[in-house]
Every structure is written in C-alpha cells, then in structure tokens.
C-alpha cells in the first residue's frame, strides 16, 4: 500500500525537473527532452489517479497523451533538423531571427 500522495509527489518532481530543464538548457534537443519529461510526470499522475478511483479512463487518456507526444516528437525533431540546416547551430540563443 503506497499513499497516493507519494505518486503525486514523484510526478510533481518529474514535472519540475522538466520545467527547470526547459528554462536552463540552451540546447534545443535537451529542451525537447525536458518537454517529454513533463509529459511523463503528468502521465504518472494520470495512472495513479486511475488506480485510486478504479477508473480505466485515466489509462486511456495516458494512451492518448503518448500518441500526441509521439506525433509532437516527430514534428519537433523534423523542425530541429530544418533549423540546424539553415542556422548551423543547436543553441536557442542563436536562433533569433524573429527578434527586433
């Protein structure tokens, strides 16, 4: 028997790690991985709540989140490749074409 709040705490820690990585990291691929980490943290809380309320809908929703994450990863990495081809860099500070 594990308290529900432990799962939620772990999920929160994962999410906060993702937010921190998103803010701190300058490498665009690592930023992308931080987003995946955030999605994983949310998934964990979904499954924990599904187990708590004995509802399978939470697991179905985790499935949908994973599908969307896969689509997002495919498109995002394609964008990264396109950016690297034109800018020759992976540092987000140097991708500043839209700045004034």
């Amino acid at each position: 028997m594990v308290p529900l709040s432990y799962y939620l705490l772990l999920s929160g820690i994962l999410f906060v790690c993702g937010v921190l990585g998103f803010l701190i990291k300058r490498n665009i691929i690592t930023i992308f991985m931080s987003i995946e980490l955030m999605l994983n943290g949310v998934n964990l809380s979904f499954v924990a709540f599904a187990a708590h309320w004995h509802a399978l809908s939470g697991q179905v929703f985790v499935f949908f989140v994973m599908v969307v994450a896969a689509a997002e990863a495919a498109v995002g990495l394609a964008i990264i490749i396109a950016v690297y081809r034109t800018r020759e860099t992976l540092n987000v500070d140097q991708v500043n074409l839209l700045k004034l």
Binding site: L4, S5, L23, L37, H54, L56, S57, A70, A71, A78
Partner: protein
Amino acid sequence: MAGAVNLLVQSHPINSALSLIAVMASLAAEYLLLGAEFVAAVQVIVYAGAIMVLFVITIMLLNAGKEERTKGSRVATLLGIPGVLIGAVLVAWTLLNRSNMQTVPIGALKGDPSDIARLLFRDFLLPFEVTSVLILIAIMGAVVLASRPEPVARGPRKDA
C-alpha cells in the same frame, strides 16, 4: 528519481538522452506496480523505443556537442530556479497537507488490455480515430520539414 536530475546536470545531450531512457524505464516499472500492464507496455514500446530512438538519431545526425553557457542561459537560470522552487514547494505543501494520505494498493487496477480495448474502441472511438488522423498529419509534416528543399529547376526548362 535520480535519472531526471541527471538529465539536467549532464551537459552533453547524449548523456541526457540516456538518463531520460532510465526515467522512462523506471516509470514503466512504476506503472507495472500500479497494475497498469497495458500502459507499462506502451510506455516501453512508444517512449523508450520509438521516441528515444528518434532523439538519439537526431543527436547523432546533427553531431551535437557540449552546450556552451551564454548570457541568456545565466539570466534564465537566475530567474528560473527560484520561481520553479517556489512552485515546487507550493505543490508539495498542498499535497502533503491537503491530501488525506489515502493509499493505493499495489496492483489494484484491473489494467487488462481487453478492458482497455473495450473502453478505447467503444466509448473513446471518436478520439481514437482523431488521433490516427493526427498521427498521419504529423508524419507527413515531419517528412516535409526534414526533406531537403528541392532544387528549383527540375526537368527540362521551358525557356532554356
């Protein structure tokens, strides 16, 4: 999970990717403990399999090296860490105070693939189909984005 922290500490992206794989694997074990076998299997296949292979291939394709510290990254660090820490403390405080510490029995959930399939294909049929269309669009978008821009002249020119 130490893997998540390791993801932040490592400066080389390939090390971050490996620690992210560790996080995925331990999360799959966590789902198994919760009794959600289907979700655990999908986690291993989709995340640790497909998405991480995409990441690693991109890292190797782009020959990503160590990231360098810049002025913007220092500003983001100075502003980001206190804000995130405040948020984390708030969330933890709320969780530990407000929750009545209900317990989740290990393996309590009937995570049978057959039950999930019944739910997925009967009650959630429309979202399921919509995600398939989304995946299709994403694949086409990825191919279009990652393909090299075509040379302008293709085939015999009219004016030449």
